[in-house]
Symmetry: C2
């Protein structure tokens, strides 16, 4: 793409999805005079107040996405669950869509994703398909077993563990996967980017802790506490995944480290990801800047670490639902090396992702201690 | 201010002036769900595309500013030349205005500013007042002499040196100051902030080089290459200035270091300033975040240095005027430790400030070399 083309208001960068991931992209895109136009089904979505233009539309509606895309020069997503047929139609009209509809079609369906891993010699947990709940019940051979919806899951929803026959009632009705439960040593994540020239960039591996209750990332730290050998293997595997997809864009590759030190791909997300939020403060180029660099086929930015760090999600407190306020945010702001990101969601609900806190420190241990203490201080309540 | 109050769309943060300083404030304010509403006389001003709302109005027009302020909860500026009577009227209506109209009234008039320094024992270059050009001609006793307009100067305009009688023709017609030319060793700048609680925060001193042609900051580096004693004296002096003003807000204090090691206040700016742009990447809290923290009376952020660095302004190249494009921006983006900020001005003109580049490095010398080389690579041209 010619650099004469992508700056200024004539060039329209279309963003499908108006949540926090898009918002952090827009904040950084302003450094390059990139004009970001956004569609989301929520008129008060986090991107609504800072987009160059903002329209309300259903992300899974063919006509809404097609209409949105007509006058855009490039299109990208910040959420997977968008109408992929519309994206394909836009590609046929000559629009640049990142990631491509073909990649998105595979990733949207965890069944196709699993088959893709097998076909490309990418290690992943063993699995079987279930067409529906009835089919599923005939295919369970042991407990516990992971049950994942093939389509439509997000933010920890659409994934559950069935522990015994008494869990049959909650098994998913729609097409799903039964996956062997991996007794993992730890969960790690690698963010990797690739532009249309085929240039790739990979971030240092991070280590993640999930909240069993919400199934959301609760805390991560960078770099992961793993051997240099495993660090290299995890980066190589992430690069293998993105190049196998021949994908342009940014990809978060979530991995299990098994107790015998092997790596398995758990899930991927073809967009900026919760496990890369710390890159805003802890790495030279944030994942959000890397994202739009891939869309514009610009040189990728350095992924060099500036500081070790940790990130905690700011989740809606239990027992509160309604217009949000952040109790003690003053105390967090007064703290050195602590960086607060509030996403601008007007309504809090228990476990809703309302923001995140990143801590920079000289060691991941220090960073984790400070991040966890800040997370206890800050309370997301409703007025 | 209660933290329940300032977040979310009900709370309206009014920004007077929609240039690059406002734009960088908005980019960061999004991290706290602060809704920034902007007024500027240019419908395509840098803030126009990312403000929560944007209105066109004359900043020096009483009614335009009063009307803009009516429904805002707090008001601040990103340029000094605004209608101060309207701000005073808004204060009487109970609005929080930062900086206050009384401080702004003094700073807008370089004559009152000079008198204020004398009254408060703040060192500054000797001067006399001239009511008009005729008066000025009778008061010049030697050459060279600095001639500064009392009101309306900005970005290097309104300041000139008269070198001999042949320069009489260009002497300012309006009320101005004649100031002794200081044969300084170097020019340094200190950014200082103060909130309504009286809490202060001061950034490390930076050293600035001005372009004689444009009279604009051409390059700065942080920290300044001065003794620890002078560093302390310059910070203390900046604190003395802001506390003498009893000012809430952020203040850039530009200082001369004389050849015998004394400090003189040259100019002040009661807002984020070109000499603090590097704080985005080189300090824990950027001057833009510090600015809105002062407006909201939040705890001030740490000014701790993360890295040494240098900043160069990206100026419109000579010989080009019209819709802008940035030649070789790809080459700048590919460079590690280099951060590019393009302000989103649609039209370039010779010497117009179009953006800036910050470099982080292990030494200011390294940072300067890389910043200057990047500034040669990137060319601001018109299409």
């Amino acid at each position: 793409m010619d650099t004469k083309n992508w700056q200024g208001k004539e060039f329209k960068f279309g963003l499908i999805g108006g949540g926090q991931l898009g918002r952090m992209l827009i904040q950084k895109a302003a450094d390059y005079d990139l004009h970001v136009h956004t569609i989301d089904n929520d008129p008060d979505a986090p991107c609504s107040k800072i987009s160059s233009s903002f329209v309300v539309g259903q992300l899974n509606n063919y006509n809404d996405i097609l209409n949105f895309g007509f006058d855009k020069d490039v299109l990208t997503i910040e959420i997977e669950n968008v109408n992929v047929d519309a994206l394909e139609a836009l590609e046929k009209l000559g629009k640049i869509v990142v990631p491509s509809s073909s990649v998105l079609r595979i990733i949207q369906d965890k069944g196709l994703q699993k088959q893709f891993y097998l076909a490309n010699d990418i290690p992943t947990a063993p699995f079987v398909f279930a067409d529906n709940k009835e089919d599923l019940l005939t295919k369970i051979t042991s407990f516990p077993v992971v049950n994942k919806l093939r389509k439509g899951g997000y933010d920890g929803k659409g994934v559950q563990i069935l522990r015994s026959e008494s869990d049959f009632s909650k098994a998913f009705e729609n097409a799903s996967i039964l996956e062997t439960v991996i007794d993992f040593e730890k969960e790690i994540s690698v963010i990797v980017a690739r532009n249309a020239n085929g240039e790739t960039a990979v971030y240092p591996t991070v280590e993640c802790y999930f909240n069993e209750d919400s199934n959301l990332v609760e805390l991560l730290f960078s770099p992961a506490n793993i051997s240099a050998k495993l660090e290299k293997e995890s980066k190589d595997l992430a690069l293998k995944v993105i190049t196998s997809f021949e994908m342009t864009g940014i990809l978060a590759v979530e991995l299990f480290v098994t107790k015998d030190g092997k790596l398995l791909v758990n899930e991927v997300a073809p967009r900026p990801h919760n496990s890369g939020h710390h890159t805003i403060e802890c790495n030279h180029t944030s994942q959000f800047e890397q994202h739009f660099r891939t869309v514009l086929n610009l040189p990728l930015g350095s992924t060099k670490m500036i500081s070790q760090g940790a990130m905690v999600n700011i989740l809606g407190a239990k027992g509160y639902e309604g217009p949000v306020y952040y109790e003690n945010i003053d105390k967090v702001l007064a703290q050195q090396d602590v960086f607060c990101h509030i996403y601008g969601k007007e309504i809090t609900k228990p476990n809703r992702k309302m923001g995140h806190i990143t801590v920079r420190a000289n060691s991941t241990k220090e960073a984790i201690i400070l991040a966890e203490s800040m997370n206890k201080v800050l309370k997301v309540k409703s007025m």
